[in-house]
Symmetry: C2
Subunit: 583 residues, 2 copies
């Protein structure tokens, strides 16, 4: 076993090309075992094994700095830079994050999890080097799928300006998370088909030098080219053709499915956990497909993550022209939605909460100033969402809810969600976003509310003294607090489902002054800039006491939900206790 | 005079090519007179006169839809679509905004003022057309400078996916606001030099058909090519070479200076108003140039608007490699700054408040998660800033101040600003943003405060009963309220300069409970998600009354500052009156 003796790049450099081939096999084997038990990003890592070995053979990390885009292809790098145990031994699997991380190793330079960042970040390292008159290569590694993102294309354009060493390795496996979308992929295909010799070349058109490696899973070929560009005095692209999922037949065959995987059976490739139950993704897709059949103007949009909104390959086929994947390009997704709405269409853009922030300006300018009736649905926007620091879902309330004209809704059940979605698609008055609740999807009573009657909250339990506003996910917690208050204090609290994150029901809030002395808000997100603070402001000049519950403003990483909830007193007993102190 | 008889595109269609040449002269004359008296975007409009005439001659607006990027080149379009009076008669100059605007005309489809949006917005109109099985051309008009923006490049990539009619007119005057920066401009040059015949072609590399018009200020040549692409069944680029500022010698010669102009003397081209007094731009540049000389690691960054941070052409030359213009590419500007800081450099990114929102994700992810010590300075982030709806400066507090790790500072004087900037550049702990105050720059006393002692506010006048927290711009208003309270009510109020937008001085706030019953916050921005609400939340469970002053969450357009201030009770007498009601 070579891998067991690799404690850093210096140990890679001792190997022969043949030995490196064996090392690659060992690394894939370890990645396979780990993925089958632990889950994680799969395909991208399997394709990058040889290139990572070659990079560490040729370059002198960490003096030469390698910056990985989005980090989905950074596992082999971690294995070769002192972190192999996290891939070889089950008890160490959680020693590393799924993303590049300077806290883990001097061979990582940024904590990165969003796509399309590597070129611009690497350009920064290169510029810092040049300002200080220092030496060393800076290498950005970016997948073809990430190239469609605005930041990546900006970075590709800026690179030439650097006028110093910057090596951009384009890992072209002819796939994004799903299939690629966008005109630039016709050029990548042309370049692959002509082994890099076509005159029309996106990278050269960006003013950059260009090398092509047809056998991007061949260590010798990669070493040869990396040696040619090492110490280049100007920015250069090395375009390598790799096979996503290489070495595991099911992953080579079903590339989209194997971009990321949960634990699975290695023999059959079958997932160990059945995932057939209904969730907000499947519910969204079912509703939308039905709607599309009745109305050709309805169109669903994704930015490179079609299954987020439930559109698996077969569903995409079913939707035909009424499903649009713009590629990883959230800015264009929102501008497109605004344009479609302006032209009389009915667009619905489904996006992870963590990624909706990639298009803040377009939501504000292209969409909200124009007040076009497009719908945005944010998924996993919750403390119960993804828990990596780069994919947090509890920051979208301050981000979205303070933009004028936008109506941001917080359903608490499947039925409320579908009713809101249907209302939003049918109305022509304004842009609407819907924040899906976190945790398991719950069903509730049928909805009769007219959501066009803006900012009218619903009192679901009429009481006195204490009013509990439970927004979205935490409506159930508000009910639990009410139960606690009843059983512990004998108080019948008022419970309110606010629905609207973006507006106050001033009439209702005013009326609470009559027979309530405490108002409690509970929201699934950071408190700063959020919903509760608006309620606190409303009551600022009155005798009403206001308690806001939500999360502290901080970047959490790989957190334990229950711990975070307790730390923030998001707990029925704790809240009841706090309220008691004010009565 | 032909222009006086142009009441819509139908009147353009009646003219011969020769007559259209005369019309172009008349339009330029009117634009010149208007600009000399009224000011506005200059160079881009002068270059687009012939192309606009040709577009309206060939296409059938509004059935065919023309979408202008950023709108700096939309004046000729307005002249030909029923709005000529606003360009011919001084009393009507203010009938139109400086931007495309659907409220003005059925020939405008979006209110647009940020760059790089046209292709994606136009793609939306095209998609809506196709979903509905309708007819008509959709034309995006985009300048070469706007092409470097992420949204534009994403849109260019997405366009091919449309698989239907979309005509992208690239108005190439070889200039951004200042000179262009980025590798793609080498390709535009190659295309111009080869009259569009070079094999290496950015647009073809994006999968698009391509036409080139070398004489982009020749109506006949333009008509000829537009007729060829009219009703194209697929996306196509028409690359036209134009002369920025064409027809006015000073503007042709000094293109950067004449991108936008205030009122001027037509004979000499000299500005009617002297603009030599010190302002935050010149102060920033002077400080930075001095700092750069002492420290080669200091670098100033702009995204296509170098003079915002004071770097005129001569100052840029002086800064050399220590000044970076990434082109219109705010996302890359922030990622680059983060990378430079990670590599030991000291980057300062100067940006308009309205444009900082174009890089929200990079500030949060690339910069703040990584906690790199880059500095961002936001200009014109004030109710006193630009007053077009697309360029508002009063939304950056909720946008920036709720991002974890970022320290967002609000100086009230020149001295405080420079002290903060110097502290920020020298520290290595965290990312810092500085919000410049609005209105005229004021000088104050020397600053001794250590800004590294985070979230410590300063009590500048110790009183009792009422505490006034005046943030940034409105620190002076807080003092005025204190004076008012003294003279009208005989109350010695406490006045506080909070400095920190992103954190609470909990110790100080707690201590106010002893002998104060009312806390007032005044901030230069919308209240929703802002500073004051955090104070209201802090005091929510106490008897302290809190009054928050700032702006309502709304998109204002071409507003009158004094009116807006009154509407929001941002007035010393009004605030004193409100406070009185609570005592």
């Amino acid at each position: 076993m070579y891998i067991e003796n690799i404690n850093g790049p210096q140990d890679v450099k001792k190997l022969t090309v043949e030995e490196m081939g064996t090392l690659a096999d060992e690394m894939r084997h370890a990645l396979l075992i780990r993925a089958s038990k632990h889950g994680g990003h799969f395909g991208p890592n399997f394709g990058m094994v040889e290139a990572t070995i070659a990079l560490h053979y040729v370059f002198e990390s960490p003096k030469d700095k390698i910056v990985y885009d989005v980090s989905h292809q950074s596992y082999p790098h971690k294995m070769l830079t002192g972190r192999k145990d996290a891939y070889l031994y089950e008890e160490h699997y959680d020693d590393v994050t799924g993303y590049s991380n300077p806290h883990e190793s001097e061979h990582d330079f940024f904590t990165v999890g969003h796509t399309s960042t590597s070129i611009s970040l690497a350009a920064g390292l290169a510029k810092a080097r040049d300002l200080q008159g220092a030496e060393g290569n800076v290498i950005a590694v970016i997948g073809d799928g990430s190239l469609s993102g605005g930041e990546a294309l900006e970075g590709l354009d800026y690179a030439k300006e650097l006028d110093g060493n910057l090596i951009i390795v384009v890992n072209d496996n002819d796939m994004s998370i799903a299939e690629n979308h966008g005109g630039l992929y016709t050029n990548l295909k042309l370049l692959r088909d002509t082994k890099g010799t076509a005159e029309c070349n996106l990278f050269r058109a960006m003013g950059l030098d260009y090398y092509y490696v047809h056998e991007g899973n061949d260590v010798a070929a990669l070493i040869d080219t990396f040696q040619k560009v090492k110490d280049s005095k100007k920015p250069v692209v090395v375009h390598i053709r790799t096979l996503k999922g290489k070495g595991y037949a099911p992953a080579e065959e079903h590339k989209e499915q194997w971009h990321y995987s949960g634990p699975f059976d290695i023999e059959t490739g079958r997932s160990l956990f059945e995932g057939d139950e209904e969730d907000y993704s499947s519910v969204s897709c079912d509703y939308l497909l039905d709607k599309m059949k009745k109305d050709p103007k309805v169109v669903a949009i994704t930015a490179g993550t079609p299954t987020v909104i439930g559109f698996t390959e077969d569903k995409r086929r079913e939707a035909g022209k009424q499903f649009v994947d713009v590629g990883i390009a959230e800015e264009t997704a929102v501008a497109l939605a605004s344009g479609i709405a302006a032209g009389g269409g009915k667009p619905v853009f489904g996006v992870y909460s963590s990624f909706v922030q990639r298009t803040f300006d377009q939501i504000s300018q292209d969409l909200c100033i124009n007040n076009n009736a497009a719908t945005i649905v944010t998924f996993a926007g919750s403390v119960y969402g993804m828990n990596d620091v780069t994919h947090l879902g509890f920051q979208d309330i301050p981000m979205l809810s303070n933009i004028p004209n936008l109506v941001y809704l917080a359903p608490t059940t499947k039925e409320e969600y579908i009713a809101m979605l249907d209302w939003s698609i049918e109305q022509n008055e304004q842009p609407v976003a819907i924040k899906l609740p976190g945790g398991a999807m719950v069903s509730g009573r049928p909805v009769t509310k007219n959501f066009g009657d803006l900012n009218k909250y619903e009192v679901t339990q009429k009481g006195s003294k204490v009013a509990l506003l439970g927004l979205g996910t935490f409506y159930s917690l508000a009910n639990a607090v009410a139960d606690e208050m009843k059983s512990e204090l004998g108080i019948d609290a008022t419970v309110i489902n606010p629905y609207y994150i973006t507006g106050l029901d001033e009439e209702l809030l005013e009326s609470l002054k009559v027979d309530h002395s405490v108002v409690v808000t509970i929201e699934d997100g950071i408190l700063d800039g959020g919903f509760g603070e608006k309620i606190a402001r409303f009551y600022g000049d009155s005798d009403m006491k206001v308690l806001n519950y939500g999360l502290k403003k901080e970047f959490l990483d790989r957190y334990d939900v229950e711990e975070v909830l307790k730390d923030n007193r998001l707990d029925a007993e704790m809240i009841a206790e706090d309220v008691k102190g004010l009565l």
